[in-house]
Structure formats: C-alpha cells, structure tokens
Symmetry: C2
C-alpha cells in the first residue's frame, strides 16, 4: 500500500479511535477493538501514538470480568484547547473548550453593531486573549480559533452580508483575526457550526441524516450526514432561510422573492410587532424606548410576551412558525431527514412556540412519512451551539489532521472546515 494510502488509513483509524474514546468517556483497548473493528495490533499502535502525543491517558483499570483487569483509556482533556467565536450583529459569544469539547469558559460581549470591522477584530483578539488568560491555559495548548459568522462565505470572509452587517462584505475577517491572535482561524457559517455543536453535544448525528435548523438574526440549516458535516460546493449548503415558501412573496435582501427569512424571520416578526403600536409599547421594543434598535432584543421581547400569553404577540410568532414549519418540511423532503433540531439564539427564546408547529407540519406533511417519521427536537444549548461548533471545528481538524485526504467526497470531509487561514509566520 502506498505511503499516501497508509497515512490516509492511519489518519482515519486515529480519528476513529479518538472519536470512540471521546464518545465513550473511558474505554479499554479491547473495547476499542470491538467498537472499531480494528485488530489488536492496529489498536495498540494507534493508542501508543495517541499516548505519545499526549492526547490520551491511561486511567486505572476496569472492574475484573474474570480475566485480567483492563487498563482504561480516556482523552487527556487538558492536553489541547480550542476557541469558538460566534460573531453576530447583536453579540459576540466566545467559548473555550477542552479536547473533549467541554466548555471550560464562555463570555458574551457587545456585537459587531455598526463598528468598523477592523476595530471589532482588534477587540475580538483582545477578548480571546482575556478568555485564555482568565482560565490560565498555556497559549501553546490552544489549537486555534473557530470563527462563526452569518453566511454566505467565500475565501476570505463574508459575501452578500445581511443588511445589518453590510460593512463586513469582502472584509477578510478570518485573515485579520489570524494576524491579530497569531492563531490559525477556521471560518464557517453559523448554521453549519451550530449543527456541529449539536453533534458534539449529542443533539444530532451518529449514523442519522440530521439537520440543525438555526435561527439567530437570520435563518439557516446545518446538515450532518452520518456524523459528517455536509458543506456543499462552496461551504454554503443549508441556506434554507433563502428558500422560497411563497413564489409571489415579498422581495428579500438577498435579491430573491418569497424567502422564508423575509416572510417569517426575526426581523419580520419584529416589524409585525412594531406595526401594532399597543403591542410595541407593551413589550417595550427598542427604538420606541432605547436608542439603537436591535432585532435580537426585540424578538426576545416579543417572545417573552408570547410566552406570557399575550395573544397578539403569540399570533405573530405562530404565523412565523407556520412558514418556518413549511421550510422545515421542504428541507426534510429534500434530505430525507430523520432528525431535525431547532437551535440558535432565537429558538433559545421562542422554541416552545415553534416546536409544536414544526412537529405538526412534519407529522402531517413529510412526504416519506409512510417509511419513517422525522424526530423534531429543541436544542438544549440553542444559544451557544454556534460557538461550541466553532471550537469543535478546530478540534476535528486536530483529531483528523488537515489535508490527510480521507477517501470521502471532498465536500463531506470532516477534516476540512469551510475555510482555513494560517497566521503569517
């Protein structure tokens, strides 16, 4: 077998073994043989290398099962760290995770707002340093930064930005952040990162075909096929916020007509609430009370009112939910999904209104319902899933070293985030 093929096999077996150890918590070499189907020889070679690299520890022995008690292995959680940064107009969320993907620190700071991109990036680099210092992690144990933004993306930076982030169009934010932090930066879109975050936090994935339907300020979906993030031709798969649910509907900022984001996204919900002056006053929309209007803050205010049972607020959210349920059905019929997780900041505040309506639409309208149902869930970490997914991107790129070229369709490769930027040496 050629060197290339050998490293490929090695990369995939190393990644498989690490992922089994991560998922198992603690496991013996025999357990790894059973879980991976590799021989004892392969497992002992791979495990030895992982121990040498400091990624895996031997920790005590399992209870005797008659024979010799087995040495247990676990990830050396403190051996590597990753940073996830979720940049949005309303806020910037930072997480620091260990090698196991557990969040060891999390901070949320002021969003991009109307600030100049260069100033925001300088602030982000400082906030990243502060996060690492606060936890006392040695900088050389930080693998890199997973930077998560609204899509669509292109190398390098955002393209066709939403109105609230127009200044960022064509700004090379990943390169700029790599320069300011001195760390490799992986860039991906919020919905894809959220799906990866759900997968790592056990929400979706495994062998299923699952999607994370993401709603922050915008709407998108992250697709996970058999545990692998599907990114499409240019890293922009899952842009369901710009799928049409009304061919004669209003024009969207993206230039198309009848997009579900334009009809039913947070901005549309807030606009509908603002049009009802009594409701706008009652829930205290920004712009009516405070200076700078914020879609995220206003959507949260409408959601709180709906959860209190305010009929007008509830009616506005339920109308939004019916459109989003249709987009969810379209996604399920296109991908033949078996799991759909609702995640992202907006579902974190309004998920209880959306979940039953999306569930009902899929129970009644999913095309292959005679073959199986779609399991629709609300995420347990809806607000932080994108940042956690950003960190998970970095960890995956360690668990599966970049450019080892596993024999998978290239746009399915777990090793390849949408875009990678190395700081210049």
């Amino acid at each position: 077998m050629s060197g290339q093929a050998r490293t490929t096999l090695h990369a995939s077996s190393k990644a498989a073994v690490l992922d089994v150890i991560r998922a198992a918590g603690t496991i013996s070499r025999v357990g790894l043989i059973n879980a991976t189907g590799f021989t004892g020889a392969t497992i002992s070679t791979v495990v030895r290398r992982l121990i040498d690299e400091g990624l895996v520890l031997e920790t005590g022995r399992a209870e005797s099962t008659g024979g010799k008690r087995r040495v247990l292995l676990q990830l050396n959680h403190a051996s590597r760290y990753a940073i996830g940064v979720h940049l949005d107009h309303a806020g910037i969320t930072y997480v620091l995770t260990n090698l196991g993907g557990a969040v060891v620190a999390r901070i949320t700071r002021q969003g991009a707002g109307t600030e100049e991109p260069a100033r925001v990036v300088t602030r982000m680099a400082a906030e990243v340093r502060a996060l690492v210092d606060r936890v006392g992690v040695e900088p050389d144990r930080v693998l890199g930064v997973g930077l998560v933004t609204p899509g669509p993306l292109r190398a390098s930076g955002m393209a066709l930005t939403p109105p609230s982030m127009r200044k960022w169009e064509d700004y090379p934010l990943d390169r700029a952040l790599a320069e300011e932090t001195g760390l490799p930066v992986l860039l991906d879109n919020d919905a894809t990162a959220a799906a990866l975050g759900e997968h790592w936090s056990g929400g979706v994935g495994g062998t299923s075909t699952s999607a994370a339907l993401y709603m922050g300020t915008g709407i998108g979906a992250g697709l996970v096929i058999g545990g692998i993030t599907y990114r499409g031709t240019s890293g922009n798969a899952g842009e369901v916020g710009h799928t049409c649910v009304d061919a004669l509907g209003p024009e969207c900022w993206c230039g198309a007509r009848g997009c579900v984001e334009a009809l039913a996204g947070p901005a549309a919900v807030v606009a509908a609430a603002r049009a009802d002056q009594a409701l706008a006053r009652m829930v205290g929309l920004t712009g009516t009370k405070r200076a700078r209007p914020s879609v995220a803050a206003d959507f949260a205010a409408v959601s709180r009112a709906a959860r209190r049972g305010e009929p007008q607020a509830l009616a506005i959210l339920e109308r939004s939910a019916r459109y989003i349920a249709v987009a969810a059905r379209n996604l399920a019929n296109t991908m033949d999904l078996d799991v759909l997780v609702l995640t992202g900041p907006s579902f974190a505040v309004a998920g209880s209104v959306y979940l039953p309506i999306v569930r009902d639409e899929l129970d009644r309208g999913f095309f292959a319902r005679a073959a199986h149902q779609v399991d629709v869930r609300l995420s347990r970490s809806a607000a932080t899933a994108p940042a956690i997914g950003g960190a998970a991107m970095v960890l995956q790129s360690e668990l599966v070293p970049l450019h080892e070229g596993m024999r998978l369709p290239e746009n399915l490769s777990a090793a390849e985030p949408a875009f990678l930027t190395q700081p210049s040496a």
Copy 2:
C-alpha cells in the same frame, strides 16, 4: 489490519480501479497507479483478480514513450450485463447494458395503466426475458434488474403512490419481479436512478455536488455528492416535487399544501390546457379525442404546440417553468449545488422551454452566487436516464460488492441501492 478492514480496503480499491478503467476506456497499470495513488503492488494484485474474474481484459500495448511499451487494460464489456426497468403509468422502458454501462438494447412497452399489478409484473418478466433473448446474452451473465418507480419507496414496494398508480401501494413489486425473473432486483425511485444514469452517461457527478431535476409524470430530484448517490434515511431523498413554493397554495395528493408538483407538474399543465377548450381541441388532448386520458401524452402535445409557438401553450409551460425554477433555486440553496441537470421524459419534450427560465432564476437568485454559479444543463438522454440508472445500480452493486461496508456514511454508500431483493432459492 483486521480481516474486515482488509476486505473493506480491497472492496474500495477494486471498485476504484474498475471505475477508473471504465471511465478511461483503456489504461495501463502505470496509468492506474497515477490515477488511484495506489502502489504498483496493490494495482497488480487488484488487476490480476479482475482479470481472473473476467471483468478486465488486456488489450494490446500503448505507443512507446521511450521505455517498454505498456499493456493496456479495459473492461471486458461483454462479461456482465444489467437490466434497467423504468415502470411508470404511461410506459415501461427496458434497457440492457453491458458492464461498461453502454445500452446494447432498449424497448418501451405499454405502461402500468389501470392493469392489476400482478399481471403487469408477469408481463414485465416476459418482456425482460424477451429483451435478453433478442440480444442473445447468456442468462447467467445477467447480474440483475434495477427496477425504477415513482417514490416514495419502502421495503418492499411503493408507498404513498401517485393517484394514477394507487393499486401499487403496498404491492411487493420488487419481490414479485425477483420471483418471476429469478434475478436479484434492486428497487429505487425514478429521480435517484435518473441522477445515477446521468452520472454514468457523464452528465453529472465527479467531485461536484450535482442534482438531476427529474420530471416524468411527477417531479423529483436525484442527488449525487462527489460521484456518490445520496439517498437519505429511507432512500427517499430529493422529493422536491413535494416541496412547497406557495404556503397558501392548493392541496397536493400527498396531503401537503402548495407542492410544486401540484402547482406546476405535468398534470397541472394538462389541466390548464384542458381548461382552454380551443387549445385542448387544437393540440388534441386525450379524452377529448381518444378514450383513456394520459398525462404524459397530453403534456407532450402541449409541449409540441408550445415549441410551434402557440402562445397559449407557451404561456402555460412558462408559468410551470417559473414555479419549477423556484424549486430548483430552493434545492440549489439547500445543497449548494454546482451542477443541475434537467432530465426525465417531460424535460425530454419540453426542456427547451424550461432550461432558460431555470437558468435565469439561478443566475439571479442563487444565494451563494458571490462564491460560484450553478451550471444548469439539459440532459442528452432525458427519456431513458431512469432506466439506464436502474441498470447502473446493478453494475455498481457488482463493481462494489454489496455489504462490504466501505467506510462511508451508510446512506451515502455507493454499494447500497435503496432496496435489494433476492429471488428465493
């Protein structure tokens, strides 16, 4: 490496080598080394086995390039054959292909119509035998039958059939055909098979993320990711005919509302033509002239009139095309497609009307257009792509022996058609 891992590697390398030989036509062992990245040792082992199995032939030598002239290899096209059967209400298309996927015989017979499924299956088995006899292929060289029907599917047979094929719901047609022919039967839906047919005939695939948008009597899509057919959780991915492009639109036979098939599929086109009595007379719709109405025949008649420039016929098709273009944009935005091929019997007769409208919609409305365009094409084998794809399913199951379990997401496995039925021994 474990036995399992070794057969896995072998299955994937054998499949990779065969597919490279198939695509190349003729190639030397050195050419295979360069194309696959395998070592000379691996290539010579795999090639020897393929020659022993009679799948590959040595055919003469390449022109000297200075050194020793190289032995050329090619598929032994006549060593194996596969049958593809495309069952639809309007007609049944049969193709016999050799190992290279070349069509050596093709017949079209009367469709399922209103006949009893059991009688139709008996007729299909006889027509399959007649096809094989006519070409004079030894029956033991026929690998099996790829049976292609409208979706959705479940093991065994169709589920939630379109109105015209209601009798087939829950009828175990693949098992019945396996019994009647004594051949293994692979069952898959028309759109997925069409995509595979396009891939084998060079229309889509390679490393791209491509889709075949299929329009026969119904509408669906087949998805090919990096050359591998994506089938979803239950083999029912790509059901875009039942994605919604008008949330308040008419109810579809599938039970949902605003499906593009209900708004703009061939049946809707024919209904619109029928409502215009002058047009109905002029194009000679069935039911007005002949006894049994046929959506396929009537859609073809309206399409001929539109191609002749009849304004009413053209207006009806263009309205249909605008809706289908929206569904195509939704699919492209969800999958981040780089290639979309229009295929199937209805695009075979009306593609010239639909192509420019779908192209225009994607040029203007594809969300990631800042990153790349979507290449929209009209199939060169739109009428027979599903049957060719059915045969290709059988060939793939030979090129990649079933259940060797390549390390791919299971619902992406090229080795696994939607459903396999063996005749009882």
